[in-house]
Amino acid sequence: MNGTVFCDQCGAPAEAGGHGRCAARRALEPPRYCVDCARRMVVQVTPTGWTGRCSRHGERRSAGY
């Protein structure tokens, strides 16, 4: 772990900038990448929420899930 946080939409380092489109997309997109390691997550969307599972860092889920 080097403390880098990654963008959950594109997988690039969050601090790198250029995430304007990612921010706009986030309202209608579940996360696709793990914020801890940038691996693509296995995402399941349900009518009221979502879960995202990273093989290394486990599962995240939405509030409505």
Partner: protein, 337 residues
């Protein structure tokens, strides 16, 4: 001064033929509607709303959808993030039965009467058919809700098996006009999709067939598509607006202008006066928050509430509250087409 008179004549003509007599607008008339200048859009939407109220009534059919098998699809539908042939961030996933039942419960809690189980496949294999059968039984054991499926192209035997499972409606979109389909999909044909729809109808299931607009088709092809759907006479037409997915061949297309989207809604209503016309994916992006209201007052009489298969939607409560505000009751479970 000549042009506005022509447009007024068209709407007057359609008021008589579609609204009063229930005769669907022809593809040529649909094309004229799709070319209608913005200053006549409100008149068109108002007519489409009258047609919907006259031939379908005020009820709105509410549905939730779930992806049973996500991603890894062998087909190359250029709009789809679930194709295994594109560099999409969507990874393959299978939903287990308890989660499927939970999703059906979530859907029923919104007031929805339809729950559609979807899989990203060319057609179902035996593993998927078994999973669907077990899932449907588990849902029926716990919840009173109509179950629809969307599992790609079917064999005659699979159609019969799904009907026997109690699937009341089957979704299989033609997606676009026959003339434009080769630009959208190369791994199967429009005709193969049509064949599945014919089998579905012959088996006694309701036919749900729509598509996506804003994929680069011309307005002529959009009108052609409306005519082909009218020829099919589906029970339901889900209308999607392209949401360009990262990594897909259509990922860099522009969103369809909102006015064109609303024109399409109204024109399709006039081409399909008695059909359930459902707002589906992409409406939030294309039409914004006002889109739901304008669509429901412009020909739409069904909505997918909550999230979609791989993307998020408006909260279901927002749509349900809007229906109350518009005095449009949610269609009850025991109401049939």
């Amino acid at each position: 001064m000549a042009a506005p008179v022509v447009h007024t004549d068209l709407l007057t003509e359609l008021r008589d033929s579609v609204l009063e007599r229930g005769v669907p607008a022809t593809p040529a008339q649909v094309l004229e509607l799709l070319r209608l200048p913005d200053q006549h859009l409100e008149d068109l939407l108002a007519l489409a709303h009258e047609v919907r109220m006259r031939w379908c009534g005020p009820e709105v059919e509410v549905e939730g959808i779930i992806s049973l098998k996500t991603g890894g699809c062998p087909e190359d539908c250029h709009f789809c993030s679930q194709s295994g042939l594109f560099a999409s961030p969507v990874r393959s996933a299978w939903l287990d039965i308890p989660m499927l039942v939970e999703a059906a419960k979530q859907t029923a809690k919104t007031g929805a009467t339809e729950f559609c189980i979807v899989a990203a496949v060319r057609g179902p294999d035996e593993r998927l058919m078994t999973q669907v059968a077990a899932g449907i039984q588990a849902i029926k054991d716990e919840i009173d809700i109509n179950i629809a499926c969307s599992l790609g192209m079917l064999t005659p035997d699979q159609v019969q098996r799904l009907a026997a499972m109690g699937v009341h409606r089957y979704n299989h979109n033609l997606e676009t006009a026959r003339s434009y389909f080769p630009e959208v999909v190369s791994t199967h044909t429009w005709e193969e999709r049509w064949d599945t729809l014919r089998l579905v109808r012959e088996a006694g299931m309701e036919v749900c067939c729509g598509g996506i607009v804003g994929m680069g088709e011309t307005v002529e092809q959009r009108a052609e598509f409306a005519g082909q759907l009218a020829e099919l006479e589906p029970d339901e037409v889900p209308l999607n607006f392209l949401n360009p997915r990262p990594g897909t061949p259509f990922g860099d297309l522009e969103l369809m202008p909102a006015a064109d989207a609303l024109r399409t809604v109204a024109a399709f209503r006039l081409a399909l006066p008695r059909t359930v016309l459902r707002f589906a994916g992409g409406r939030e992006l294309t039409l914004g928050d006002l889109g739901a209201r304008k669509g429901l007052l412009g020909g739409i009489n069904a909505v997918i509430v909550g999230n979609y298969l791989t993307t998020l939607g408006r909260p279901a409560e927002s749509d349900i509250d809007l229906l109350g505000e518009l005095s449009m009751p949610v269609k009850a479970l025991n109401q049939t087409l």
